[in-house]
């Protein structure tokens, strides 16, 4: 029994009617199989237009509708709502796009445009004939969140969600939260004191009844899908029991190991048992297994192994036999706030980084500025502890260099370099600060003023050009550069060189992104769904992005993005269940051979092998209906509901047939 079909052709003012003969199109449409009604109207999307569609559906008992108008992205939803309001299942209404794909591109050929419009309508009608009435899919929703990364992005996102009443688990790889922000002394453009700002937020996190903190931890396995994730968290052994430890610091003194302190960017040494940073949350020492003699000399007899810290601890808080923990968190949404690393200065042998002690990266310079840092906030050069009288700050090191390093701009460096140079000049009054730059990108509120003030009030010497080489000679660092504004080659004899290294995604992000099923770009930054309209949504539903893991940015932008993810998740959590579009893949059980090709090809992890039936199932909550499995299946066992290969072949036949006839 054939469906009773209706066709509604919109003029869109003259947008369509100007190049498509809408009366002729109606006449042609009326002749098509199953069509019981066809008409045109000036603006079908207007209220009277919609009413017309509704009335005719009811009056003639239509079982399928084609609206020939603009792109379905514009008004598919409008007309589907109208149809369902009068009892027609909304999936039995389809849009035939005769504007963007017809009238706008064939403005000078009305007969051809009309013929093409009719063939588009005919093809869409053939699709509607085989469309099934569908209901939306309902998915359970666990209103808890896992935040991966405890830098400022993770902290702000977690606090916002926790304050809204949702339970949040923060997973932090390092021994304490705070991220790179904890290494930085002051903000731009207002010189706010970061330790103070950050400590407040860290305290809020620590005290929050809705936040659970997993430090020294990583995501081990991620299972599940939006609304129903199961995150397995691997926590490194806690050798020091925080319940017993009084933070007396005796263990730090007796430990015989001395290694470079990563938090201070190698500007100081630490023991194998150490306090990770100076934030309040990091008072309890942690033990680095890779440095500790007890673990490094694993062949030694147990009794001879170093136990200096265990022996000295008055509270018996240290247990070197502690083991790694696995915990599970069931959550509805995940925030990827994985952050960045600075591109390694060793990649720049021409600047002597790694070989010349007085060539340091920008984060190391931040450690010099920190009152609780290795020099108590005094800017002293690493080689001999002298105050450097000439400092060269080099911007864009490793950035904007597509041939050898990173093609992108790291965005924050222009501003933090200006800040660092200004802070240097404020501290060393008789010092000279040179800034080597390509362009100055100061594109936010008070940024340009901040840089200008540096040049005018603190006499920063900005030199446009790229530094060729830095060498150590005659007790100086010779910085070879050029001033491209005056076309002169310049050699600066400096005492300290600070490299504004490119930001790159955190080490290990490639593996993690695979675990989390989040796509990354060529530089391994996490990809958002749409840079303009879906800027914090990842390719996997329910997984959101915040901070420098997505792209380099400053603290302001990081926090904005973190709060946006929190807002997005709260919107999701405002419902009791999740609604999903039923236009997804299905499997023809009789045809599927269980080869598993679809499982590898699925970008969303929606295809799962059913161990019992040996058939590849579709996870309805995860499938986005992209059709990759449909194209890849060698047996044609995958179909997209309401976009089956049979429907598509008929549509192509209609389009090709008509176009060939003209």
């Amino acid at each position: 029994m054939e469906k009773k079909l209706g066709v509604f052709i919109c003029w869109c003012g003259s947008n369509i009617a100007g190049s498509v003969d809408v009366d002729l199109a109606v006449a042609e449409a009326e002749k098509l199989d199953g069509v019981v009604h066809a008409e045109n109207y000036m603006y079908m999307c207007s209220d009277p237009g919609q009413q017309k569609v509704k009335d005719i559906i009811s009056e003639k008992g239509l079982e399928g509708v084609v609206v020939a108008c603009c792109s379905p992205r514009m008004h598919e939803n409008t007309f589907r709502k109208a149809a369902s309001s009068v009892g027609l299942n909304s999936y039995l209404l389809e849009i035939a796009n005769i504007r963007e794909q017809c009238s706008w591109v064939h403005q000078n050929n009305k007969p051809l445009a009309t013929a093409k419009a009719v063939s588009i309508i005919e093809g869409t009608l053939d699709k509607v004939k085989e469309n099934l009435p569908l209901e939306t899919i309902t998915i359970d929703l666990t209103k808890r969140v896992c935040v991966v990364g405890g830098g400022i992005a993770g902290i702000m996102s977690a606090l916002d969600l926790a304050n809204a009443g949702y339970d949040v688990a923060i997973v932090e790889r390092e021994p304490a939260i705070g991220g790179h922000m904890a290494q930085i002394s002051q903000t731009f453009p207002y010189f706010h004191n970061i330790p103070e700002l950050l400590q407040k937020k860290i305290d809020e996190v620590s005290a929050h009844p809705h936040i659970k903190l997993y430090v020294n931890s990583e995501v081990d396995v991620l299972d599940g899908y939006v609304g129903n994730f199961n995150v397995t968290i691997k926590t490194q052994p806690a050798f020091v029991d925080p319940a017993k430890c009084t933070a007396c610091g005796k263990c730090l003194e007796v430990c015989p190991v001395s290694v470079a302190d990563e938090f201070n960017r190698g500007l100081s040494q630490r023991a194998a048992i150490f306090c990770y940073n100076k934030t309040e949350g990091a008072k309890i020492p942690v033990l680095g297994q890779n440095d500790c003699l007890h673990f490094v000399n694993s062949e030694t007899d147990d009794n001879d192994k170093c136990k200096a810290c265990v022996d000295v601890c008055p509270e018996n808080a240290i247990d070197l036999g502690a083991i790694r923990n696995l915990n599970e968190e069931f959550v509805g949404a995940i925030v990827m706030a994985t952050g960045y690393d600075l591109y390694s200065p060793e990649q720049m042998p021409e600047y002597g980084a790694g070989n010349i002690p007085d060539v340091i990266d920008a984060l190391a310079f931040e450690r010099l500025l920190d009152p609780s840092g290795p020099t108590q906030g005094q800017i002293l050069r690493p080689s001999d502890g002298q105050v450097p009288k000439k400092v060269v700050f080099i911007q864009c090191v490793g950035s904007r260099d597509p041939e050898r390093h990173k093609a992108y701009c790291s965005r924050a460096c222009c501003m933090y370099t200006a800040k660092q140079a200004r802070l240097y000049r404020q501290q060393v009054e008789d010092g000279t600060a040179y800034v080597s730059y390509m362009d100055i990108r100061s594109d936010s509120r008070d940024f340009e003023e901040f840089v200008q003030a540096g040049m005018e009030e603190e006499n920063l010497v900005y030199i446009r050009g790229r530094v060729a080489k830095v060498i150590q000679e005659d007790g100086f660092l010779r910085v070879f550069t050029s001033d491209t504004l005056s076309s002169r080659q310049i050699v600066i004899e400096a005492d300290l060189v600070v490299l504004a290294m490119a930001m790159e995604p955190k080490a290990g992000i490639r593996e993690l992104s695979k675990k989390m099923n989040v796509t990354i770009d060529g530089d391994a930054f996490l990809s958002e769904t749409h840079i303009k309209l879906y800027p914090v949504e990842s390719s996997t539903k329910g997984v959101y992005l915040a901070g420098c893991g997505q792209s380099p940015k400053d603290i302001t932008d990081t926090v904005s993005q973190a709060l946006a993810t929190a807002g997005k998740i709260q919107t999701m959590f405002s419902n009791e269940t999740l609604i999903a579009d039923p236009l997804i893949a299905e499997v023809l059980d009789d045809v599927c051979s269980g080869c598993g090709i679809c499982i590898d090809i699925c970008p969303y992890g929606a295809r799962i092998m059913n161990d019992f039936t040996r058939i590849s199932d579709v996870n309805q909550a995860v499938c986005q209906g992209c059709g990759a499995c449909m194209a890849a299946c060698p047996n044609k066992a995958c179909e997209l509901i309401n976009s089956t290969s049979r429907q598509f072949i008929r549509m192509i036949g209609d389009f090709a047939g008509k176009a060939g006839a003209v």
């Binding site: 080489k469 060498i471 000679e473 010779r478």
Partner: protein
Amino acid sequence: MKYPYFPGCTLYTKAKKLDDAGRECSLKLGFELEELPDWTCCGATFPLVNDQHITMSGPTRILADTKDQGNDKLVTLCSVCFNVLKRTNNVMLNDEERRAKITDFIERDYHGEVEVLHYLQLLRDEIGFETLKEKVVKPLTGLKVACYYGCLLLRPVKEIGLDVMENPTIFEDFIRALGGEPVEFPYKVECCGAFQAVHSMDTATRCSRDILRSAKNNGADVVITTCPLCQFNLDDRQPEIQKSDTAFSSIPVVYFTQLLALALDLSADDLGFERNLIDPLPLLKEKGIVA
């Protein structure tokens, strides 16, 4: 083992000592450099514009000859020849359009089949510095050597690939194998001034001065090079440098094959040191390397 060998023009004239020592040493090390018959000039510069093909016809012909004689390798001693031949070969290998233009013009069939090797590369990759070390008879004990690479042996690094561009080590490893003591100095990959010596002598003098000064300041007794032009600039500019900088004291600049020859116990009399402006013999005698 025989390797086809392209000496190049300069090694027949001004840099004869680079060539002689290289050939003699190869025999001591158990391989032979077999000179390519009827070779022509390599062109001495690789064209810097993409549509200049005529200057590549010479090197392509040399490479095609090498292939036609049944060889898949070609060894050079001169940095310039190495650079030009290697880069030409890359074009033949990777750029179909330019290859077609050039090979059609010279009426040869060549697709980049020959691997162009520098003598140093041969020592490192085919002989091995460990083997070389074993063959050393008179180690260069106590000789502090500034290993000066210049530009053409390394750059452009993506095309040459002999070693990393900013901090290479092949030359230092070579000197260590000979028992000498390589001296790190920051100018080891800077330009010597090259052809500027022809029309802007001051530029070449300044470039050479910075390199030599840095080598000396870092304790070097002698500078070695692979390149006739570098050797010429660094050696020949020294009286001029002294005129403007009276504190500057001279330092001998020799070819790496000359030191190799001494370590392999070849006679210093045959090494052409008399052609050096700054005579290295007093130093070598002082160090006990030459009797």
